[in-house]
Symmetry: C2
Subunit: 315 residues, 2 copies
């Protein structure tokens, strides 16, 4: 049930820090000092730190009614169980929903971070109220989350939305899972930097990796650097191919695109939209929008708080 | 609502013939002589012929409670409105549900043929009762239909499931819509034949197109013909790449594969399964099955009859 009047806490559990915020609907009422993710004696010790923060926020906002946590890994959403967090030692098989719920006395939900971002954009952001939304985050890798038929789509084993692993070339670069042509092997941050260095080298220019970040290439393109413009065109080609495939398969209302690479704005979105228009039928294009995400760093907090507000009372 | 006790008529409206059958649940009680699709004075005249057949079947099966029609084109399922049938002259903007409903006095549903096939396999066939099923038909082109979260997924403009238009190569062969690398431009019947002729030519053998149908190549492979085996391997590579992408995106329970090309059986399914295993994570593979369709030519009748039985009373 969608409820914009419930006050809830969203917890954005990252590999480096854990951020908490109090939300009422789309409104972010308060945020808290980030908690370092690493260096705790055990997962339970870390959950205790989070629970204490939740309790402290409850003192300020007694109306807090639920808490939602988004984690960077594989989650059984129904049970609120963390299977594994690749980048956080010891986080295997943790019944996070139960432990945090017992410690705080609040209803909890636990979600994958890419899904939480998608939920934030669908409930309160760039895909608000649409029936079918594909949300992506372009950064170190390419993550995604799906809202289909007006609800979060998680797949049969809570693993849907792995857009970065989709293939754009059956004979292409091999991805992490042996998957040829995996999109993120073309347009993850590091892959973009490597590709850019090659492009500049081909043009007779030597560039260091730190001068080939998406941000640096966007700045160069903004000054009219032809090589940089060509790089964005190629990125749009890879991404547009994958998104066109998704559009043929799912016929969605919107693609909502966030993350560092999306900060390039029109440099990415203009060729991307042209690429997709060139690859889709009129019917699939009808009403389809390709938009930047509304939320940046706060997407996790807002999405998890919204999931908690909407769902914590259904379980 | 799923109801296996309702008797309903399924109409499989193809470009050449229109087939009718009476079903109760998974049971096909009777079929009727096919009606030629072409040569009628108008769409209304053809609908009159179908309605008369329905009335005649009602005389034999008075318990018939609904009729479902599947057509080869773009349909607004909610309104039962046919936007366009590419291969049937004059079939633009036809309110088929209303006209046939008025003529027969029965509740009607109108669906796209690929969706009806998917529905048949999900309700009564190889994907029975599973939560998330991707169904494909491999023939002249590659069609598809999706069951997601336990219901037919049609997309925002009733165009979901166009697996044949998904790209397997961002630099590949150009498809009908300008889409590079469209799967069906590699493994539609005609494209398979052309590819096979090239493979045989490379091996110093001249083959005619009629000796390079999927059926002929399957027969050759069954006798140990190395070139034919290699062709099936390549088909599995293209198809496996596309299906692996879908698996990463949707994390389904099953792929159900029908149509002429799928008649090759293990020649296709064995390398396909190996290809997909080589491109997916353990979690996405968990519980995933890749299975031949249960229904062949009767899929349309059964799927449309099931849609009518399940849905005609909800509208």
């Amino acid at each position: 049930m969608q409820n914009n009047n419930i006050t809830s806490i969203g917890v954005d559990f990252g590999g480096t820090t854990i951020k908490l915020g109090v939300c009422r609907g789309a409104e972010l009422l308060a945020t808290d000092e980030p908690i370092p993710t690493q260096g705790h004696a055990s997962p339970t010790a870390l959950i205790r730190v989070i629970a204490d923060r939740v309790t402290a926020l409850q003192a300020r906002y007694p109306e807090i009614a639920a808490v939602g946590v988004g984690v960077p890994g594989l989650v059984d959403f129904d049970r609120g169980f963390v299977h594994i967090l690749t980048n956080v030692a010891g986080w295997n098989h943790i019944p996070l929903k139960k432990v945090l719920g017992d410690m705080t006395g609040l209803p909890c939900v636990v979600e994958n971070d890419a899904n939480a971002m998608a939920y934030a954009e669908w409930r309160h952001g760039a895909g608000k109220g649409l029936r079918n939304v594909v949300a992506l985050t372009l950064g170190t890798g390419v993550g995604g989350g799906l809202i289909l038929n007006g609800e979060m789509y998680r797949g049969s084993h809570f693993s849907a939305g792995e857009i970065g692993q989709m293939s754009v070339d059956y004979n292409g670069v091999v991805g992490h899972y042996g998957n040829f042509g995996a999109l993120e092997k073309y347009m993850g941050n590091q892959q973009i930097a490597e590709y850019a260095m090659r492009c500049y080298a081909d043009a007779g220019m030597v560039k260091k990796a730190e001068d080939c970040t998406p941000k640096a290439i966007a700045e160069a393109a903004a000054t009219g650097d032809d090589v940089a413009l060509q790089i964005w065109h190629q990125i749009a080609d890879w991404l547009g191919t994958a998104l066109a495939s998704i559009a043929w398969l799912l016929n969605p209302d919107a693609f909502v695109i966030g993350g560092g690479v999306a900060q390039a704005g029109d440099l990415l979105f203009e060729p991307l939209e042209n690429k997709m228009k060139s690859m889709l039928s009129a019917v699939v294009l009808e009403g389809l929008t390709i938009v930047p995400a509304k939320f940046q760093t706060e997407a996790g907090i807002i999405g998890n708080a919204a999931l908690a507000a909407d769902l914590a009372f259904e379980k």
